[in-house]
Symmetry: C2
Subunit: 218 residues, 2 copies
């Protein structure tokens, strides 16, 4: 796992050329990239990471990023399409790794374990993931309701739906997967933990409860 390219994470829409096929990792991307473009992408990503751990995600503005990287603002947008796009790119390695783990990794998260166990593991891992990368994830949240159509979101949704079917859930697995999915969104998890001081373990336990009931219920 790790370097495998799985599913594009960037939103399909606005972002011109952006990078090759979908910006999964921050690596060289499609190789047909002009030298200057490649150099600037590297410059920008490095600058972005620096700025973020100097001042936090919220304080990163596209203008200061451009300045720090020594490129024009237009270049930043050409590359990443939007602020959210930039954040997605920054997240892409972590995201890809998570994808790799639940699709190909060892059980109980990966294939091999019973569906319910995988479901439970999925939530637990996701909660941990959000606690680690949540700020970024929140900043990467595309507004409006096409948030759900970001490739990565579609993938989790499909995965959850598939697990539900495996577990024998026949009641509208598509919508059920959606319901479970929103439950794990960064906004809610971070809010619970940061504002209400809920312990992560309690979140995990609650997810297990929820997943179990959805699978076994009625």
């Amino acid at each position: 796992m790790g370097a495998v390219s799985l599913i594009p994470i960037r939103p399909g829409a606005h972002a011109g050329p952006a990078d090759g096929q979908g910006g999964l990792t921050s690596r060289p991307a499609a190789e047909s990239e002009r030298r200057d473009a490649a150099r600037n992408r590297e410059l920008l990503l490095r600058a972005a990471r620096e700025l973020i751990d100097e001042c936090g995600v919220d304080r990163l503005t596209m203008a200061t990023l451009a300045q720090r990287a020594g490129v024009g603002k237009g270049t930043v947008f050409r590359r990443f399409g939007s602020r959210a796009g930039l954040m997605m790119t920054l997240l892409s390695d972590a995201e890809a790794q998570f994808q790799g783990r639940f699709m190909f990794g060892p059980p109980p998260l990966g294939p091999g374990a019973p569906a319910l166990e995988r479901l439970v593991a999925f939530g637990a891992e996701r909660i941990g993931w959000v606690l680690e990368y949540g700020e970024l994830a929140r900043a990467a949240d595309v507004s409006a309701y096409n948030r759900f159509d970001v490739p990565a979101a579609v993938l989790w949704h499909r995965h959850l739906e598939w697990l539900l079917r495996q577990a024998g859930v026949t009641a509208d697995p598509w919508l059920m997967a959606g319901a479970l999915s929103v439950t794990l969104e960064p906004e809610r998890i971070l809010h619970s933990v940061r504002v209400h001081g809920v312990a992560p373990a309690r979140l995990v336990e609650s997810w297990r409860e929820l997943a179990t009931r959805v699978v076994k219920g009625a």
Copy 2:
């Protein structure tokens, strides 16, 4: 029901004097309001409604609103605190009515029916509500994660938690209520219906399924 003042809907924070006690309805609010202020509030709300059904919520900018109402931009912000605050005010009547129905109205939504039935009814009504006022609700969504601390959201959350307890759910009803709650958020519902063409009845059915499993499960 209808004219009863229940729970403030505006976010408690930023909005200066805004209106008396919490802007539940678009009526006169607290009576200690200067004439000019009252007149301007009226002017602004009327103008906002006009602009919205002329061009839709998204096209309403604070500047054009000010212009249309014939007041300064500063006045708009003094009154409503933010764009989201304005939208909440516009929603407040509908919101108050919904609150009245699930707290004091006839069963199965109101008190009198078994908890599970009330839970199911709550979801069904909420889905209908979102389909009617969803655009506005979406625009009223305060960003960041204090979205969950808006008084109205807190109220639903408490209501759901209470119903879960009534129904005998002992597994962390607070978090369970939260999980159920996000499931009904405008973003998701509108996305399902508008983008994926899911029939509202199917959403309702899925909610029933979910609620039932949470209550009876394990």
